[in-house]
């Protein structure tokens, strides 16, 4: 089954890139799209200015942007992330009679000086989503 929660990132060179599209398609056996993006960022000397999660049917979850031109004052005044990260979190149980199936969440993270803001979206049911500050 193909993953349904994917990342999209805007870059400081003006590009917007999408997991499983263009240069970042998921290719069996090859480095994951996120790891390929990290290599590209390092090679080109560019950075991520915003990171979101999305589905092909139009759902989207946005982290605070590190862009230069937010349109509302509250966004102009807000502390901006100093970095972004994407990962998937998987958990599973064993032992006991109860059947607990594997859970996978796609996680987008905005890093600040002293904290991180994460958005978690369930791969199986995108209506199940959470945010957490750690």
């Amino acid at each position: 089954m193909e993953t349904q929660i994917k990342w999209t990132a805007s870059l400081s060179n003006g590009e917007t890139v999408y997991e499983n599209k263009g240069d970042y398609k998921i290719i069996k056996g090859e480095l994951s799209p996120w790891q390929r993006l990290l290599k590209y960022l390092d090679k080109q000397g560019v950075r991520i200015t915003s990171l979101s999660l999305y589905t092909d049917n139009g759902k989207r979850w946005n982290l605070p942007s590190a862009g230069k031109n937010p349109k509302f004052k509250v966004f102009c005044d807000a502390e901006q992330p100093i970095g972004y990260k994407f990962f998937r979190k998987m958990g599973a149980d064993i032992i006991g009679g109860e059947i607990i199936k594997e859970e996978i969440f796609a996680v987008a993270e905005a890093d600040y000086k002293n904290k991180k803001l994460q958005i978690w979206v369930s791969e199986k049911n995108p209506d199940v989503c959470w945010s957490v500050v750690i």
Binding site: M1, G29, S32, Q35, K89, A92, I99
Partner: protein, 187 residues
């Protein structure tokens, strides 16, 4: 899509399915462990009560001491008498957990812990469970999400194996059950 596959290792690995139980016993399938002692055998029990690992000569790791080995290492018996935990090899561990993904991903921040089956932060009731990743010097008592076994990060691959030794001891009379949970980050 990523998948986990859990095995009880042995001469032949036994796959642990979603409805199966990992059973710690006294050397015999369904045999009771004396309170305060550790397992002398490990089995996979089906939801219908069958010993799925009966013909696979399953591994067993028995906790002996937390720091009685050389340099303060934990000690365990995995079939050859008491040995230092850090002498264990991959094939001698209790569990092999395989994580696979169609793309080549790194894995980070993996943890393994036991809980009461309801609340991850709550340890199992009346049972002590210790675990170690092969290469560890000492066991960790995996009593809820607050004291997990921390698993080493792995570099990019489509398939990742984690080798974990587990041993259990009842703290009170009666059948004891909980859950162990494995979590990891991949990207």
């Amino acid at each position: 899509m990523a998948t986990f596959t859990w095995y009880l290792q042995g001469s032949t690995p036994t796959t642990i399915g979603a409805t199966d139980k990992l059973q710690f016993a006294n050397g015999v399938f369904n045999g009771k462990i004396t309170v305060g002692e550790y397992n002398d055998s490990t089995h996979v029990k089906s939801s219908t009560g069958e010993d799925l690992s009966a013909s696979n000569n399953p591994n067993n790791v028995k906790f002996i001491s937390q720091s009685g080995g050389g340099g303060g290492a934990s000690q365990a018996d995995w079939g050859d008498g008491t040995e230092d935990l850090d002498d264990m090899e991959n094939a001698e561990a209790t569990l092999k957990i395989n994580f696979s993904d169609e793309a080549s991903v790194i894995t980070e921040d993996a943890v393994f812990y036991a809980y009461d089956g309801t609340t991850p932060a709550t340890p199992p009731t009346d049972i002590t469970i210790v675990a170690a990743e092969v290469g560890d010097t000492n066991f960790t008592e995996i009593a809820g999400s607050g004291s997990p076994l921390e698993i080493a990060d792995q570099s990019a691959s489509t398939s990742h194996n984690y080798y974990i030794a587990v041993s259990a001891s009842p703290d009170a009379v009666g059948a004891k059950a909980g859950k162990v949970r494995f979590e990891l980050t991949y990207s």
